[in-house]
Symmetry: C2
Subunit: 164 residues, 2 copies
DNA sequence: GCGTCGTGTTTGACATGTCAAGCAGACTGT
DNA sequence: ACAGTCTGCTTGACATGTCAAACACGACGC
């Protein structure tokens, strides 16, 4: 009844799983050793630093990096204690909170980015040739097109079935 | 000085990151909804169930699934409370602990496996054609060959430089 | 035999993530 | 204008992961 994975399929799947485990581990380690930041810190800092004024609404930021709002709120508090960001009350909407990079946060992400790119190159990008990169982009494109239907990207369009 | 990522490289890297985030999220959700297991539970159960006698030394299991021993020890305790596994003292070496599947654990992984494979097919494998799968296997092969040098697979061969 | 060290595992304190309330500012209809 | 509801965020209780210390057995040298 069940269609099990063929050998080729299994190799691809296990390869992905193992890649994911080891690559993330290595990148995380490098980041911590090089810059004293966690993956989480890096995602927040780099995303906010791309936004105009180095500031971003909390909810938007959460959506962008696919975190729960609650997780982000907790994490921003911790980053606040370390002086990397501050919260700012938005003028137009009293409920909303805005995450703002401090000078220290901006310095941290600038310093980290160079080393992070080097790490990504060393352990991933530079190991692959252009055909590999193209294939990877194709693959993630196909899968993401599917997943972004299944996982409601907006609070809107809710009734999507999860099993088909 | 720093070699930033080209557009193609950036697309490939961000694609991978986003794929990793969303695919894992979806697979985890399905697993929890279908079988009441976490990813962590599934990794432990499926690995132990492949071992002869449905039993495995704690340290070996940890190495196999790339967890810290401590994490596994904690997690085995929790799984023990849920009746999925037990600890068994090894006869030959008094220090060592062995993780053994209970009948309930065996039943759980058998039931979960079918649904998990279906989920993996639905959200990943069946979206890709044979060329994609082959490319993925190539890519993970290249990267893992590198990473398994960098990350000491054994407690032996320690002095490996992390930056080269 | 018996200190000493190495190895495999457990434990406790703490960091991080999740889930379900709680809360306060904004919208809506009357 | 104000009761009810919605929305965006915060909070607290709890689950999970990490790190370093403790532990307990085994192996080795004397």
């Amino acid at each position: 009844m069940t269609r099990w994975l063929t050998d080729d399929e299994m190799r691809a799947w296990l390869g992905y799983r193992r890649l994911r485990t080891l690559l993330d581990l290595q990148i995380t380690r490098d980041l911590a050793a090089d810059s004293g930041l966690s993956d989480a810190d890096y995602d927040v800092l780099s995303t906010v630093s791309d936004a105009p004024g180095h500031r971003m609404r909390l909810g938007e930021l959460a959506a962008e990096i696919k975190w729960s709002v609650s997780r982000l709120s907790h994490h921003v508090s911790r980053m606040g204690q370390r002086g990397l960001v501050t919260r700012d009350d938005c003028a137009s909407d009293g409920r909303s909170a805005t995450v703002v990079l401090t000078d220290e946060g901006w310095a941290a992400i600038q310093a980290a980015a160079k080393l992070h790119v080097a790490s990504v190159r060393r352990h991933f990008i530079d190991l692959l040739d252009p055909a590999d990169l193209a294939a990877l982009t194709t693959i993630s494109g196909k899968v993401l097109a599917h997943l972004e239907q299944v996982t409601p990207p907006d609070p809107a369009r809710r009734g999507t079935r999860r099993h088909d």
